[in-house]
Symmetry: C2
Subunit: 439 residues, 2 copies
Amino acid sequence: MPKLTFFSSKHFLVLSLALNVSLILRLIVHEGEEPHNHSCFGPQTTGASIARTNSNMLISSSSSSNSTTCTTGSGSRVINLDHGDPRVYERFWRQSGEKSTIIIPGWQSMSYFSDVTNICWFLEAEFAREVVRLHTVVGNAVTEGRHIVVGTGSSQLFLAALYALSPTDAPEPISVVCATPYYSSYPSMTNHLKSGLYQWGGDAESFEKEGPYIELVTSPNNPDGHARISKVNRSQGFLVHDLAYYWPQYTPISAPADHDLTLFTVSKSTGHAGMRIGWALVKDKEVAKKMTKFIELNTIGVSKDSQLRAAKVLRAVSDSWEQGNPQEGESFFKFSHKLMANRWKQLRLVVEHSDLFSLPKFSPAFCTFFKEVLEPQPAFVWLKCEGNVEDCESFLRAHNILTRSGKHFGVSPKYVRISMLDTDENFSHFLERLSSIKS
Amino acid sequence: MPKLTFFSSKHFLVLSLALNVSLILRLIVHEGEEPHNHSCFGPQTTGASIARTNSNMLISSSSSSNSTTCTTGSGSRVINLDHGDPRVYERFWRQSGEKSTIIIPGWQSMSYFSDVTNICWFLEAEFAREVVRLHTVVGNAVTEGRHIVVGTGSSQLFLAALYALSPTDAPEPISVVCATPYYSSYPSMTNHLKSGLYQWGGDAESFEKEGPYIELVTSPNNPDGHARISKVNRSQGFLVHDLAYYWPQYTPISAPADHDLTLFTVSKSTGHAGMRIGWALVKDKEVAKKMTKFIELNTIGVSKDSQLRAAKVLRAVSDSWEQGNPQEGESFFKFSHKLMANRWKQLRLVVEHSDLFSLPKFSPAFCTFFKEVLEPQPAFVWLKCEGNVEDCESFLRAHNILTRSGKHFGVSPKYVRISMLDTDENFSHFLERLSSIKS
C-alpha cells in the first residue's frame, strides 16, 4: 500500500472527521425527506447501463424512487458521478422555506404568449427582470444592450445559437468547433440530425478550414474547470460563450462577461436542473430573432411555470446576498462557495496522498464578487490516472465508481470527469472509496 | 347589402342576445383580473406584424401586458385569430380554485432525473398516472402496452418522432407527408434544419415515391376539423397520429385510438398552452427509446414543474367528470363542450346568412363519452370565401380580422383558418365584425 503510507495520522483524522460531519449533517437534515435518495442499486444499475448504452451524455442516476433492493456492502455500492446532477444545493433550498416556494393557480399562464412586443415573445417579464438583477448583483455579465432569449435549458439555446448563426445559403454546413477537452455532448448535439446548416468540426486548436465557423468557448470549462478564451481567432468566426459555470461558487469572478452571445442556466447556478431553464444574452437583434424562431419551431416557447419558478429562485438568490441578514439565513453564494471549498479541500487531501491520481492546477485570482483572492473550485473534477493506468474510467469502474472517460471530451482515456455536485452522501462515499484504492 | 336582407329579426335578436350575455359574463368574471386582456392594439400591432414576417406559424397575440395605447373604435380594432391560443378555457380554471393550484417548494424537483428505471427517464410518475387515468375516463386512447414519452409540447414530440422513425443509414432523407390541408407548421418544422434524416414530402394524396415514408395523420384535422385516416397506405410507411384535438369538446369520441405512435398535448385538451407539455403513446420500445434520446439531445428532459402542474390539471379534469357533484362545479368536458357548441351555433347563424362565406359540413356521430349523437365542433373554423374573393386572408385583413391563409396549409387562398379558442370578448367582436361585412 505505497499510497497509504503517505497519509499521516493527522490527515486521516481530518478526512475522517470531515466524512463524519457531512454524514451526520445529512442524517439530521435529510433523513426520511428525500424521495430520491436510497442506498439501493438493484434496478438502477440496470437502468443505468441501459441508459449508458444509448448515450454518452447524461444517463443514469445514483438514486431512484423506484428501487426495491439494496446493496449494503459499502464496496459493492455503485457510486455514479458520471453526470453533473446538481443535488448538492438541495439543502440550501430546504432551508430557504417559503422564500423560494411558488404557487400557480390553474388559470394562470395558459397562453402561448408572454409579451408580443418582445422579440422573444414567450419570455416572462418577471424572469427577465430577475436575470438582469442577478447579473448586476454578481457582476458576471453585462446585460445592457442585450436581448434575453429564454430556453428549455441552455441545451436548447445552444442549438438555437447554431441555427441562428449558420448561413442559410452556404454550399456546405458551417463547422462548429471547440478546444479539447470539450463538453462531451457538443458533438452529438451538433450532429444528431445530420443538419445541412452546421456540423461538428472537432478541436478548435487544430481547426484550419477557411471561411466562417462557430467556436464554442466554455468558461470555466466543462470538464476541466479552466478559464478560456477563443482559440481560433479568425475574422469569420462566430463565438458562442457557454458560461454555465461562471458563478462565484465555482470560480473567481474577474469582470462582467461582455460577448456577442452568452449562455447561462439555472441548472448549474442555483441547482434547479429539473426546471430546464436557461437564458442567452444576445447583442445582435437579428440573431435574437432567429434564436426565438428556432425555439418556436422546436417547442413553441418555453414552460411559463418554470420561468416563473426560476424568477422566484433567482430573486431568492439576489435577496439572500443583498439583504445579508444572518437571521434570514446564509446567502446562497456563501453557502455554495463554502460547500464547494470544503469538498475540494477533502478531495485534494485524498488525491495529494495518492500516486495513482492527479488534479488540474489552478491559480488563485481576485474575485470581484467576494472581494477576496480565491481559488477556482469547479463543478467537475478532471482527474488523471497516473502511471500505467491507460483507461481511467475502466479502472474506477472496477472499483464501482462511475465517471466519464476523457475520450468523450476529445482527449486521452487517462482522464475522467467526475461530478462534484452530487449529494453529500455520495460525495462522502466517493472520497472513502477513492482513498481506499491501491495501485 | 344582399347578405343582411337574409337576416330575420329573430336571428338578429338571438345573435345580439348571445353577444350581450357573453360580454356581460366576461365583465362579471374577468374584469380587472386578467393581465393579458386589454383592448389596446398600439404596440401589439407592431409586434404582431414583426412576428408574422418571421413566421407563418404562431405569432402575435390579441393581448399584451405591455400595451399603453388603445384603439377604441370597434371597427378599427384588430381581431387576431391567426393562432390557436386556447384562452377560452380560462374561465373554467378560475372557477376550479384550489383543485388546480400547484405549490412547489424551492428544494423540489431539482434533479435532471425522474425515474431512471423508465425508458423515458425524465417522465414524472404522477404525470404518467394522470395521463393513463384521463384516457381511461375519456375512452379516447388505448394506453395498455404503450410507453409514455413526455415532451415540451407535442411539437417537440413530433420532431422526436421524425428522429426516431428515420432510418439512420438511408442514402437520402425519408419523406414526411400529410394530406392537404395540413397543419401549417409541419413543413417548416420538418425542414428548418435541412436534416439529412428526413425532409418534407408534401401532400400525402399525391405522394408516389417508392420506399419508406412517414405519414402524419391529424385527426380531427387542423385546420378543417375532419376525422382522418392514413392516405398513402403502403407497406413501408410509418404513421404518426397527431390527436391533439381528439377530445370530447371538439369531436364525438368514436373509440379508443389504437395506433403505433400517438401525440397529445395539454395545450388543446385543457387549454394550458403556456405549460408546453405534450405526451406520446408509443407501442415500440425502440422508438420510445429513440424519442427519449432526441429529447435528451434537444433539451435534456422536460420541465418537471410543468409536468407536476399538468398532472394536477389532468387530475382535476378526471375528478370533475368522475365525481360529478354539481355543488363541486361543472365537469371540464361539459363546460368546454357547451362553450364550443354555443360558439359554433352563433358562428353558423352568421355564416349561413351570408353569401360571402361557407363552412365545412360535418356528420353527427355517436360519442361514447357523452353517450349521445353529437356534431363535431372544431377548435378552428376552416372558412371559405365564396364568389370572387380569391384571397380570403387579405379580404378579412382589410376588415381587421387576422386569419391564416389556406396557402400555408397547402391549399387555395380562398380558405382561411380562424381560431375558435380565443377569449369570449374577441370571439364576440369577431362575430360582430363578420356579420357586418358586405360583399
